[in-house]
Amino acid sequence: MELFELTAHELSYLLSSKKTSAVEITESVLGRISEVEDKIGSYITICRDEALKRAVEVQKRIENGEAKSPLAGIPMALKDNICTEAIKTTCASKMLSEFIPPYNSFVAQKLNNSDTILLGKLNMDEFSMGGSTESSFFHKTKNPWDFERVPGGSSGGAAASVAAHETIFALGSDTGGSIRQPASFCGVVGMKPTYGTVSRYGLVAFASSLDQIGPLAKDVTDCALIMNAIMGHDDMDSTSLRAFYDDCTKGLINDVKGLRIGIPKEYLSDGINDEVRRAILDAIDVFKSLGAECEEFSLPLNEYAIPAYYIISSAEASSNLARYDGIKYGYRAPKYTDLLDMYNKTRSEGFGTEVKRRIMLGTYALSSGYYEEYYMKALKVRTLIINDFQKAFEKYDIILGPTAPTTAFMFGEKENNPLDMYLGDVYTVAVNVAGLPALTVPCGFDSKNLPIGMQLIGKALDEKLLLRAGYTFEQNTVFHKRKAKG
């Protein structure tokens, strides 16, 4: 096996037993990127020279015992909406195509402190608005399992790069499913942490009450290691949670006996692809055979989650994206008559179609005359959704279901109907609305050999339990070991 095919924990073992070096690993992954990146297009920026230089530094630190993190020496990549000091951070938009942050995001700094090696910045849907990475200003990313298909979105580059071994792990961001859905489409593990547990300082804001950064990894063990590195309170994020952050690797136990798993019947009824349903039912059987108690129940408000989510996220986005005015940073229209014209032209030329559509929806929903009907109403529905989950978690430890209603779709398939794209979020958005943690793990393949993902939703701050369920499933199945051809 090549070094680039291994997991972070496997590489860490090789490093600590001096069977390889940070430089060797980095060269291996960079070599892989050279081999396949033209076909897949996961990256917007590749930091080849910087990565090799850093690998030399990190290797020295490993050799003199200073690099203590289990992620030391591991090459990784970041979604391009996560600020990296002195390295272009574009959000896959013309608006920020030349933007170079003067500071490191909290997570970039934390990973730096853990002696990881930054390979580059990953492709995404523009400003995280989308479910296919097709709206990137730069290029499309291909799904490594089938190059005619999308990798999902908005963290499509992150998911594709992990699946294609163009990075050992990645960080993405998730506002309505943007880590989980692409992880599901690309057959990798993805996690959205409890809201507030990973600092948003340096994450380019889309919807502030929904956004969270999280890992995309080759297996659940790696996911736990990454979570340990990035979770924690941060003074620079006023929505950061002061809580006890336990060691996530304590969740890596192969045991689900007595675990109460609830499956919402609404998840398995209409709108779900038959093969996806079959894979989820089989996964439930796996859990049952391992001693978990699995039961169907009703989550009646699930159908209201998508409209509530899109109202809230569009409203927050319209507010957050008001800062892009061509003045302090970002694109400025070359020709304009006065200040107002400059704003209008800058924003109309700098943003893509989907971004403008969401800003318009958000502006409309917040405008006088409609604020009560849409935004306030959506915030009340949010309370009901939170209560719906709370009630469910009185009876169950984990809620299980599909991550997406289908496997990866073809490029252009959802182009003509934006609503169609939004409906693909049916299982993921409620989780962001309620601020809960969720994990997606590969649980099967369809007849076209496309990955299927299973989503596990937990109570707030119950990441360890989710990781335990995911780890147990992984230890007793082999889906995560199948490799994409790409």
């Binding site: 409209p307 061509g326 304009y336 924003r347 318009m360 502006t363 405008s367 915030l379």
Partner: protein, 94 residues
């Protein structure tokens, strides 16, 4: 529920976005469909429900009003399309 084109034009004005006449027509149809879908939330009775703006129910997060180190001015200006004399330069406001 038909959206009036005037409402769309007003939103565009507020959002500082300009659209061609064709784009406005297309956008109006798209938004109409999406907003119709949004209307679904009106099926729910929320008369006695408090809105949740933030899931964590955080109260004010303060710090002491003490000056801390900030960024180097040149660093901050480096991303601007135009600057002069250590300031951002823009078109006349008034």
């Amino acid at each position: 529920m038909k959206i009036k084109i005037d409402n769309i034009k007003n939103s565009a004005l507020l959002a500082r976005l300009i659209f061609s006449d064709e784009e406005i027509v297309k956008l109006t149809t798209e938004m109409e469909n999406i907003l119709l879908f949004f209307d679904k939330i009106n099926e729910l009775d929320t008369s006695n429900v408090e809105p949740t703006a933030h899931v964590m129910n955080l109260t004010n997060v303060f710090r002491e009003d003490v000056q801390k180190e900030s960024f180097d001015r040149n660093q901050i200006l480096s991303n601007a399309s135009s600057h002069q004399g250590g300031c951002f330069s823009i078109a006349k406001v008034l």
